[in-house]
Structures are given as structure tokens and as C-alpha cells.
């Protein structure tokens, strides 16, 4: 039986902490648990919990969203995508159609889904209509997309893939001049799929204490206690505080599907640029399933502000953990969940949306 959260809090409070220590998480699920459980307020003030690159919707290339909108509007297709993607705006003048939601309102057949299984079901139910699955996500979502393709799909289904790998973004931060954090809580479900070992480089190459955590306050606090002790004692290792689910080697079937169906490629992150080995692309054997091949010419990367975050929006700095959500210039004023400007306020996994849902307002101390 795991120790309760209060026990972990007492242990953390009992540590002889430095004046300031910054712990980054890289998972929207972690950030949501931290915010909803009120862990920031419960921990000693010296501990800063920084939400990092943990929201796949937020970093999905603006060009890919634009491409999806154009395919949905100009081709006779049904476009399906995870619900979070519908409201993400692209950089076009306000008089133009700037999101999949607006394209849907204008008549395009765009359907939100919660699972790749729904994409195959829609394709099966509409055999005479091409179905395009716009699939953005990290390893936890991309592995099921690979499984879907490996299992066989109807001929009329193609995939507009925007899959991304989490650790290369953390590697990019660590290789920068100011990583901005002193310890890392590694994502529990990415580690469940890919194996905790993927995060060893953080400790071995960069001397940053790290722990894989689950999503309960107990597991998160256990991870925080571990990295704090590692930092204080100078004995660094990759701890696993989610051992039951994030097992050594990860999920071998899921990894096998990924390797058979997709290649690892350099990939763009919205507002950040290209990160080496951070994306997935369909392997040549699956080229016939590639929506970019079936519907070429819609990316239009030469557009003004293509690939960037919306004007005035600080999402890119929020994603990289350089500022807290409520330090963005438009958090809570021009940008709210009801009328979001940046993807971090759109997605349930965006740090801005999570902080707003947890009741944190722009004037509150970070």
C-alpha cells in the first residue's frame, strides 16, 4: 500500500531545502493533478513546480492545423480529429476561417473523436467517402494510431500525422544555455509505453535528478521527494515512482507497432521550431495511408506568420517553462477558455487552461 499524500508532504517539509529549487513536469496530466490537488500551495515556498512541454495540442505545428482545415474544406472528405484540436486557431486574418471548428460551422464535415477506433468505425460506416484522421499527440496517443494502422483499416481511411516524442524537447531544453529547471518529473504514461529508461539521459548526461511519476498526488509527491533528496544528497539516479504501470522496457507490443508503422524524424513544434528526432512519420510501407500524399499542396508554409503562435500570445514560452501561464500578457484578459487565443488555453492539457480551471487568475502569484 502506497503512503498517503500527507505522509509525502511531511517528508518533503522535513527536508533541509535550498532557497529555491525548480521541478519541471512535462505532462498535461501531471500538471492537471498538481493544480487540481493544490500541491503548489501545500509545498514549501522554496519548491517551484514548472509546467513544461506536456501538451501535444499546444505544440502541434500551426502548418498542420492549417493543412487539416484546407483538406476538410476543399476535398470531399470527412475529417476526424481529437476534440481538443477543433478550436486551435491558425494565423489568418479574423475574417477568414481560422480553426477546424469554424470550418465545421461553414459546412465542412469535421467530426471530433476520442479514439482511433472511432476513426475506423466512421470510415467503415461511410465506405464511399474518404476519411482523413488528423492525429496529433505524444507517444501515448501516437502508439494507438500505429496500433490502429498495424491492425488494418478500411481503404478509405488516411492519416494526417502530427505525432511527437516528448524526450527530445526536454533534451533541447537541457542543451540550451538556461534549461530553467533543477529536477524533472518524467511523464508516467509516456514511460508506460516507451519505458522509463528513455529518461536516463537527463540524469546521466545532464546531472539532473529525475523520477517517473504517476498521476495521483501520492505518486507525484513521491517523485518530488525523490528528486529533492537526490538533489540534496548528490546521489542522482532515475527513480520510478510509477513502477506498477511504467515497467522496464515499456509496453513491448506498443513499441513494436510504432517501429513497424512509423519512422522517427526531425519535426516542427509550434512557436519553437524544429527539434531533432522529435516526430513520427509513416514508414514507406504505409505511404498509401498518408493524407499528405493523398492531398498534397495544402500546407502553404509561405503564409505570413506560418508556424508561429498567435500574435501577442506567449504560449511558446509557457510550453518551454520559461514563464508561468498567468505571466502571459493576455492570460485571463484577451485569452480565456471561452474565447481562447493560444493553444495552451484551448486544450485540456494546456497549462493555461489547467491553471484557469484550477481558479488561478492573472493577478495571483505564480
Amino acid at each position: 500500500m502506497a503512503d498517503p499524500a500527507t505522509t509525502w508532504l511531511d517528508r518533503i517539509r522535513g527536508l533541509d531545502l535550498p532557497e529555491r529549487i525548480r521541478i519541471m513536469n512535462v505532462c498535461g496530466g501531471h500538471e492537471r493533478s498538481i493544480s487540481m490537488a493544490g500541491l503548489r500551495g501545500a509545498l514549501p515556498a522554496a519548491i517551484e513546480l514548472i509546467p513544461g512541454p506536456g501538451c501535444p495540442v499546444c505544440i502541434c505545428p500551426e502548418e498542420d492545423v492549417y493543412e487539416a482545415i484546407q483538406i476538410a474544406r476543399r476535398e470531399p472528405v470527412i475529417l476526424v480529429t481529437f476534440g481538443d484540436m477543433l478550436r486551435v486557431p491558425v494565423n489568418l486574418p479574423r475574417r477568414e476561417i481560422r480553426s477546424l471548428e469554424q470550418a465545421k460551422a461553414a459546412g465542412a464535415d469535421i467530426r471530433p473523436i476520442a479514439s482511433p477506433l472511432e476513426a475506423t468505425a466512421i470510415a467503415r460506416d461511410n465506405p464511399d467517402t474518404p476519411v482523413v484522421f488528423f492525429a496529433a499527440g505524444f507517444e501515448t496517443t501516437t502508439a494507438p494510431v500505429a496500433a490502429m494502422l498495424a491492425g488494418g483499416v478500411p481503404d478509405n481511411l488516411s492519416v494526417l500525422l502530427s505525432g511527437r516524442r516528448t524526450w527530445p524537447a526536454v533534451a533541447m531544453l537541457l542543451e540550451g544555455e538556461t534549461p530553467g529547471f533543477d529536477a524533472l518529473i518524467a511523464p508516467g504514461h509516456v514511460a508506460t509505453i516507451m519505458g522509463p529508461e528513455e529518461w536516463s539521459f537527463v540524469v546521466e548526461n545532464h546531472d539532473i535528478p529525475s523520477a517517473v511519476s504517476g498521476f495521483t498526488p501520492e505518486s507525484l509527491l513521491a517523485g518530488m521527494y525523490s528528486v529533492l533528496r537526490q538533489h540534496l544528497e548528490g546521489k542522482l539516479f532515475l527513480d520510478n515512482c510509477y513502477e506498477e504501470v511504467a515497467r522496464p522496457g515499456g509496453n513491448p507490443t506498443a513499441r513494436d507497432h510504432l517501429e513497424r508503422v512509423m519512422d522517427v524524424v526531425p519535426a516542427k513544434w509550434r512557436g519553437i521550431g524544429e527539434i531533432p528526432a522529435s516526430g513520427y512519420a509513416l514508414r514507406p510501407e504505409y505511404a498509401g495511408r498518408d493524407a499528405r500524399r493523398r492531398y498534397p499542396g495544402y500546407a502553404d508554409e509561405g503564409r505570413k506568420r506560418a508556424g508561429q503562435m498567435p500574435q501577442g500570445c506567449d504560449c511558446a514560452r509557457v510550453v518551454l517553462g520559461k514563464i508561468y501561464p498567468n505571466q502571459c500578457r493576455i492570460y485571463g484578459s484577451a485569452c480565456t477558455p471561452r474565447d481562447p487565443v493560444g493553444p495552451c488555453m484551448v486544450s485540456d492539457e494546456g497549462a493555461c487552461r489547467i491553471w484557469w480551471s484550477a481558479g488561478i487568475r492573472s493577478e495571483d502569484a505564480a
Partner: protein, 78 residues
């Protein structure tokens, strides 16, 4: 879409499992669980309709405590 949901398996038919959580029943793919045997009564962590790993009931119930809080918070108007 990254949020994993712990569910209890009630029936298995090939790569398809009927799973339940909070009184809701849905079909979950076991296509990513081919390295393990999944049986009725097992708990699995489900991501976008696919089981990604088995887990104990204790871990599942603990995870649901925080999810209940999240659901309560997100059901309130923004």
C-alpha cells in the same frame, strides 16, 4: 487526450474488451496488450480507447480519486 482512465475488464473477445468505470461501459482495444493475458476482472489503464497496461485495483481506485476532482472542476463553467 493523454489522460489515462483506469477501467475494469468485464468481458474479453479477441482483441476487444468490454470495460467499465463509474458505471460507464465501453469497448476497449487490447491490440497493444498482446504481450500479456488480459482477463475479466483485471484492471487496465486505457488511453484513447486502447489498454496500455494492466494495473491493480488499488492503483486504479487511487487514480480515480483525483479524476473525480478533475471532472468536478471541469464540469463547472469556465
Amino acid at each position: 487526450m493523454c489522460l489515462g482512465i483506469p477501467m475494469k475488464v468485464s468481458a474479453v473477445d479477441g482483441f476487444n474488451a468490454r470495460c467499465e468505470a463509474k458505471g460507464v461501459s465501453r469497448d476497449v482495444s487490447l491490440f497493444m496488450m498482446q504481450h500479456e493475458t488480459v482477463s475479466p476482472g483485471d484492471w487496465v489503464m486505457v488511453h484513447v480507447g486502447y489498454a496500455i497496461q494492466k494495473m491493480t485495483e488499488t492503483e486504479a481506485r487511487s487514480a480515480w480519486e483525483i479524476f473525480d476532482q478533475i471532472l468536478e472542476a471541469t464540469e463547472q463553467p469556465a
